[in-house]
């Protein structure tokens, strides 16, 4: 079975089956990551833009790097751009914007994991998603976010402390 890195080389030549295989391997983790980063909004746009960039930049892919790291770095940058572009919308309650017509049980909505994640500052949210949902080690998260391991540790610590405070606030 071809490695991800070999498939990227194929992809640079416009090989469609290579893209199909990479999509098959990463569609779920990548869409989950984007979903949690943006609280389920504009997932399709960011997902497609990520792959478009992968295809366009495949020729410049550094073979010494892991493809998954590169892919998620592209997605993280796009998610960051998304948050910068629409800061007000991004901080809105995702449940309300996802389906405005649906009557929302406030207690349920306030205790929703996505809503909680959305209330974390972006650097902390990234660390929680990568560490908790994608099961990456602190070293891997540090490599992905291009920051020291200590920063990852402190962000995770602060994020969990903030989540703890938020759940206490929301406790009925």
């Amino acid at each position: 079975m071809a490695t991800d890195e070999a498939l990227v080389v194929e992809l640079a030549t416009g090989n469609e089956p290579a893209l199909c295989e990479l999509l098959r391997r990463y569609e779920r983790p990548l869409s989950n990551f984007i979903y949690r980063h943006t609280a389920g909004r504009d997932v399709e746009d960011i997902f497609q833009e990520t792959w478009l960039r992968v295809v366009r930049q495949a020729k410049r892919f550094d073979r010494n790097k892991r493809f998954s790291t590169w892919l998620f770095q592209i997605a993280i940058n796009l998610c960051r751009d998304w948050h910068r572009r629409a800061p007000e919308e991004a901080s809105a309650d995702p449940k309300e914007s996802a389906d405005a017509s649906r009557p929302i049980d406030r207690a349920e909505a306030r205790l929703d994991a996505d809503a909680l994640l959305a209330r974390l500052p972006e650097p902390q949210r990234e660390v929680v998603i990568l560490r908790y949902y994608h099961d990456l080690s602190e070293d891997q998260v540090a490599e992905l976010l291009d920051c020291p391991k200590g920063t990852v540790k402190s962000r995770l610590h602060n994020a969990l402390a903030r989540l703890l405070a938020l759940t206490k606030e929301d406790k009925p």
Partner: protein
Amino acid sequence: MTEATDRHSVLEAHAGECAECRNDAAALDRIGRLLQSSVVRVDVAALSQHTMTLLRPELSRRARSLLVRRVLTATLLALLPLPLVLIYDAYLLDAFYQIARLLLPAAIATYLVATYVAFLGLLFGGTYAAIPLLVARRATAAAASGE
């Protein structure tokens, strides 16, 4: 990168380092349950299908431009030694003409050389025309074997 299998280990590790969370295990457990309850509502298959549809023209554009580049490179590389080959052929033809003129009437010698020049022209033309065709065929075969 896969979805977490042992998500509680992250929280446990945090509790080990954070006195506040260690003292409030119930709250930490609540966070764990909340994070665990997060459900991703994305139709992954449709998402990938839409992405493929979107990227297909980009891929064929890349494949086409790569093919054009390969053909041009191959043709240019093949053209590089051509001046030398032509000079050498001209030298040989001149020598052949000189010898033919000693043995045959001038008209026949000229006819023989002209015929040979025409034959060489055809040969070169055919060879250079075949280069892009062969490169394109090879690239197509490679793409097909990749599938």
